[in-house]
Each structure stands twice: as C-alpha cells, then as structure tokens.
Amino acid sequence: MTSALHRRAQLTAIAELRWRMFLNGLRTKRGKLELLSRVIVTAVFTIGGLGAFVAATGFAWYLVSQDKAEYLPLLLWPIFFFWQVFPVMATAFTNNPDSGDLLRFPLTYSSYFLIRLAYGLFDPASALGCLGLFGILLGTSFARPALLPWALLVLLTFALFNLVLQQTIFAWLERWLAQRRTREIMGVLFILFMLSFQLIGPMIERGGKIPHPQLSRATQIVTQLQAVLPAGLAANAIAKTTHAQFLSGALSLFFLAVLTTATGVLLNLRLRAQFRGENLSEAGAPPAVAQAQGLQVGWNLSWFSQPVAAVFEKEVRYLARSGPMLLTLIMPVFMLLVFRLGPSNPMRPGSNFLSRTPELAFPIAAAYSMLVLTNLLYNSFGGDAAGVQFFFASPVTFRQIMVGKNLTHASILLANIVLAWLAIAYFWGPPAIAVSIATLAALLFAAPLNFAAGNLLSIYSPKKRDFSTFGRQNVSQTTVLASLGIQIVIVGVGAAAFLVARLYNNLWIATLLFLVLAGISIPLYVFVLGRIDGIAIARRETLLAELCRA
C-alpha cells in the first residue's frame, strides 16, 4: 500500500472509530442524554453564532457596497480575538479529545498533524469563528459577486491561520506550564505582562489629552501596525482588491500565508516533539543522590476532620501542579486588567463599559470568578481518574470527600474575590460598601447553588480529565448544558435583583433579596450533601467505569 493510501486508510479508520464510539455511546441512557445535551448546547452556540453571522454578513455587505472595505478589520479583529481567547477563557466548553492516544499506532507525522488540526475544528470557538467568516464572505459576495473566489481564498487562509494559531497557543502553553522551571519563567513573564498593562492605561489616558494632530498620528500608527497583522492582512487583501489594487491585495494574502506558515512551523516544533514521545514530567532529571527529606506531615484544618483536611490538601496540591488549571483560575483578575486597558474617562465615547460604570466591576468579576470555577466544580472527580476507586474503598463517606473538595472550591473563589476586590480598588478605587456587600450576598446565594449542582453533576456525569493538558479535554455535554442553564438562572436572578434595587435607588434591597435567596440555596446545598453518599453508592459503577477506563 502506498503511503498516501495508507494515510487515507488511517484517517478513514479514525473517522470511523469516532463515529463508532459515538454510536456505541448511544447504547446507554447517559449516552442518549449526552446527545440531547450536545444538540441543545450546539443550538445555543448556533443561535449566538447566527447572530454574529447575520451581523457580519450585513456589516460586510454595507462596507463593500459603500466602498468602505478598508474598515473590514473592524469585523476580522473581533473574530480573531474570540477564536483565540474564548478557548482559554472558557475551557469548560472546549471539546477537544486528546489525539496523543493515537500515537501507539503506525501513524505518520503528517497524519498526526492533520488530526490535531481536524480536532481543533470541532472546538466551538473555531466553529463560531468560521461562521463569522462565512458571514463576511456572503456579505462581500452579495455586494460584489466577482469578489467571491478571491474573498473565499483570503478568508480560508485567515481561518487556517486562526486554527493553527489556536493549536500553537495550546501546545506551547502546555509545554511551558508542564515543568516547574518553565512554569516559573512563565509566571515572571505573566507578571511583567500584567505590569505592562498598567502602563498602557495611562498611556491611552494621556492620549486623550494630547492635541488632535498627534492623536491622529497615533491612530495612524495603530492602523498601520494592525495592517501587517493577520486580521489586518486579510482585510487588506480583500479591500485592496475592491479598489482594483490587485498586486497590493495579493501581497497582503502572501504575507498572511507567510504568517500562517510561520505559525505552523511553531506548531510543528511542538507536535513533532509530542510525536517523538516527549516526556514533560518533572522526573526528567532525577537527583543523583537521594535527597534527605524531613517527615512530611499533612496539613491540619482545626475545624475539619482528618479525611476532610486530607482531601483539601490533596486537591490543593493537584491544582498547584496543574498549570492550565491555575491559568484558568487567575483569568478573572486577568480580565480586569484587560478592561483596565481601556481609557477611564467616562465622558469619552470610546471608553470601555467598566470605566463608565466601575460600580459594576466587582459584581462582574465575582460572577466571572464563579463561572471559571464551574470548570472544576462540575467535574470534581475528573482529575482523580482511577483514584476515585480509593474513595470508594476507604472508610470515608462521600459527604466528607465532597466537603473537602468544596472547601477547596470555596477557598479558590474567596481568593479570587479578594484579589478581584483589591485589583478593582487599585484600578478604579474601592468598590462602594453597598456594592461589595450586595455582591457577597449574591455569592452566598450563587455559590451553594453551584456547589450543590456541581456535586450532583460530578457524580451523575463525570469525565476523566488530565490536569496537565490544555484544551485537549473531552467534556460532558450534559454538564456543559446544566452548568450553562444554572449560570443563566443565576445571572438572570442577579441582574433582576440589581434592577429592582436600581428602580428603588437602594442597593440594600438587592442585598436583602440575595440573602433571602441564600436562605433557599444554602439549605439546598446541605440537603444535597446529606444525600450524596446514597447517590454516590448508587452511581458508583458509572462513576468508576467512566473515570477508571484506560
């Protein structure tokens, strides 16, 4: 068999394997529920994507038909940022199975590379990004049908660039976060990056005070700069062609292709290392002589039993050794920094909404902190994998195990909230006492509700996850759907409470409402916790089958 035929046979076999796995999954009730959830989640994303698609179509049509194609970057940059940032911000929604399992087979490197890219296409961010680009293609083609082949070529190249870049970011982040030394370097770089953000705000602020010609010059520089970056190049390739500047348009596409290739080379470096069987474990260089270690006594939590303290310690150690998870958990503070990037003058039309309404910063940061925690909370046993057997074999109730895990979740949430409060106080001034208390009251309602739902879904719909990989996780669609629904309810209730308070011009009303709701959610949490043992025992076979499989 020739190598091309062999590769095609392998790729077909993998596609058939995934199809067969999908069909076999439908044999169980849980599999059917997963399918239903997948359909609903896809529908939710599709509705959002269709909105963006219609907007992109309309806006692109307007720009091209009005001869304003040079403004196309306004459409392409948001798509670029969404495509690259969403998977990092919301890893719970990424569904990207680990292709590393396939390496045991005589797979050629090119097949492995292609499979990684193909798996990347199934990511919601990629699907929605493609939908947005398709909207631009339609809008452009409606306005000027002759542009269709060229726009198709440009947008396909841009889509490929985004796909390759997303995989490159994941692959390199995973590499840098895998080992203590590189993790520390990443940590320092991240802090420097954050400090640089501190400088951008004042610089932009000063930009508002500088005379108009200088501001125009600055804008011109930014415009020129973006024109040599991927989204700008793609926009230019189309815009120049609409103005009959074919050579310039072709050059832009050429440079976009060069950037795509360069990014592909970076991805190739990583994937080739993986393909060769790279081991990123900490055990790469064992010490020549055994290090004398003192007795490592476990942590003590005075108010909690030994098993709860042991589970808490284990959870914290797990998280501390998971770079990807740590990065996800610090996202709330990072997002505040991003918002701080915008000018803070409330009278300026371009200023971001947190600068215009800084009183919302703390509630939003708290809500986002809760949201990123759901990634961990709704699949508590995912990282334990086969270790979950230990819980069932040990003389400890699942209630105690859940308390230990929830204690970790609550500590992370608290740490995030405190950090967010401090960051907000530093960026925009301390949040008002009434806002702070209302937000904490909202958390008293939201956290127990999420914890209760998370504990149930962790048992009813577990998925094994590898804490050391980034974005290559197979998530449970049932969990995604339930988590999405619960967050919508919580955000809806929170917004309604704040609206009522605003209506009466008294924020304490919101606090009161949240405390009343907490009076329902806390007993609900206790109720679920009280029944968790029975549920875990009843569901142990599913739990063990899902988490202990090789």
Binding site: S281, E282, A283, P286, P287, A290, Q291, Q293, L295, Q296, V297, G298, W299, N300, Q306, P307, A309, A310, V311, E313, K314, R317, Y318, R321, S322, G383, D384, A385, A386, G387, V388, Q389, F390, F392, A393, S394, P395, V396, T397, F467, S468, I537, R540, E541, L544, C548
Partner: protein, 271 residues
C-alpha cells in the same frame, strides 16, 4: 469446624444485563488464610473482588467481612480492610509520600502517624530515593508497590489484592511476597487473584476457582488434589492423578476449568 470465617459470601451474584458474571458464589475464607482466587479470563474474579471490597453492588447475595455485613456497615468494614484494586486507585499528581500520607489519614490515622508510616513504607518498598517524583511518573512496578503500601498503611486485618504481581519485576515481587508473608504470620488474612499460578501455589494455603461465574472448587491445595483424583475416570490414562503423583496447581486448574490449548490451529500469516 473452625473459627468464624473472615470473609464469607452467600449466594453472591452479579448480573450485567443478560450476562451473569457471578452466579451464586459461596465463599469461606478463614482467619489467617492466604487465599488465592483463580479463574480464566472473564470468569468473574475481578467482579467478585470488587463486590467484596464495596466497589460494586451485588445483584443478590450477602457478603460478610470480619462478621460485619458489607451492605449495612460498609464504613466499619472498610476501616479494617486494605484493597489494591485492578486500576490501583492512585492519585497521579501527588508524590509517593503525599499519597501515602493522604491514604493513612483517609483510613483514620493522625497526621504524624500517617507521615511516619508513609516514610517507613516508602523506605521498605525502595521508593524513597526520588521523593519529588509524582506517582504518574512511576513505573508500573513502582505503582504496584505504592498501591500495596497504601493498602496496608493502616494495618488492615484483611487485604484484597487484584493481580498484585502483574507487571512487577522479580526484585519487587520478592519485596511484596516477603511483606505479605509477614502479614500472614502476624494473623492477617489475604485474598488475592492472580494469573501467575506458580506464585499462588507458593504463597497460598487455600484456593478457590471460579469458572463462568460459578465457584467450581474451593479448599486447600491438598483438598483440591484429592477432589480431582476422585473425579478422574478410572483408566483415563492421564498420568498424575491416577498414579498418585502430586498435581501442580496449573494441572489442577486446567483439569477443573477444562481448558484446552489450541496447538493445532495455525495463524499462517504470522511470520
């Protein structure tokens, strides 16, 4: 007869849909026995051990460990037993010392005792030379030793081991065997499944054989030999049993489960 059994089951059964994986098993394991539980692949060994350790619910039947009913008093039972299940039940992103200390505390030891025993066990199992190594980076044999260490850290009265010697080198196997024999000498009861019949023959005083979900033999090796000799048809011509020669466990096993070896079938495409 003798003292109350440490492990006893009555009519233990487990169905998976139409399949009856374990069918009415009645086991008796006396205190201090080193008990080998054997059977061909898919016979129901792992299913039985999972039910005995509370990892799987029986469809019917009753399990008593140390006189306690597993279904009504699981926590008290688990407090007195140690388990090395099929998947080893390790937490990969802890170091060996952290995992053992964690295991000890989950079994009710105080922090200091758990840490001291963890250090002793790591030393005994020759796992102490790379203290910062994560369990996920251990070799298979090292993981087996660690899983066994975690199962014994609280000094259990009964130990359940599912294939403890699988993938373990001769040196590590020697360490494990001496530890298990030491536990038996101190009065513990050990229940193990293994495909390595030589090891079972050397270690175990009593054996049970399960085949297609049913218990087909149970007793000491001598009792099993006697049973096979009695069942051997007169003039069968098959050496050992008739001539009074001592059958090995492998021969006993093959006789009882009726195994045949496929020697006549050839896979011609295998070079």
């Amino acid at each position: 007869m003798d003292a109350a059994p440490t492990i006893s089951t009555e009519g233990l059964s487990r169905r998976f849909g139409e399949l009856v994986a374990v069918d009415g098993v009645n086991l008796r394991v006396a205190p201090g026995q080193f008990f080998g539980f054997l059977g061909p692949n898919g016979a129901g060994k792992s299913t039985t051990i999972k039910m005995l350790t509370g990892l799987l619910a029986p469809s019917s039947g009753r399990i008593e460990i140390l006189g306690l009913d597993l279904s009504t008093d699981p926590v008290n039972v688990k407090r007195q037993i140690g388990v090395v299940p099929e998947g080893m039940a390790l937490f990969g992103r802890l170091t060996g010392a952290e995992f053992l200390s964690f295991a000890g505390r989950m079994y009710g030891l105080d922090r200091t005792t758990a840490a001291k025993r963890a250090a002793e066990l790591l030393d005994f199992m020759q796992l102490a030379d790379q203290p910062k190594k994560l369990v996920t980076d251990y070799s298979h044999g090292m993981q087996k030793k660690l899983a066994l260490a975690a199962a014994v850290i609280h000094g259990p009265k009964v130990l359940f081991l599912d294939e403890p010697f699988e993938g373990v080198d001769a040196i590590a196997a020697g360490t494990l065997k001496s530890m298990l024999q030491g536990m038996i000498a101190r009065g513990a009861t050990i229940f193990l499944t293994s495909h390595v019949l030589e090891i079972v023959e050397r270690l175990c005083s009593h054996v049970a054989i399960i085949h297609q979900g049913r218990l087909v033999a149970q007793g000491s090796l001598e009792e099993l030999r006697a049973g096979v000799a009695a069942d051997a048809p007169a003039g069968s011509g098959d050496g050992a049993a008739a001539s009074g020669e001592k059958l090995t466990l492998e021969q006993l096993f093959l006789r009882i489960v009726g195994g045949t070896r496929r020697t006549e079938q050839e896979l011609s495409w295998l070079e």
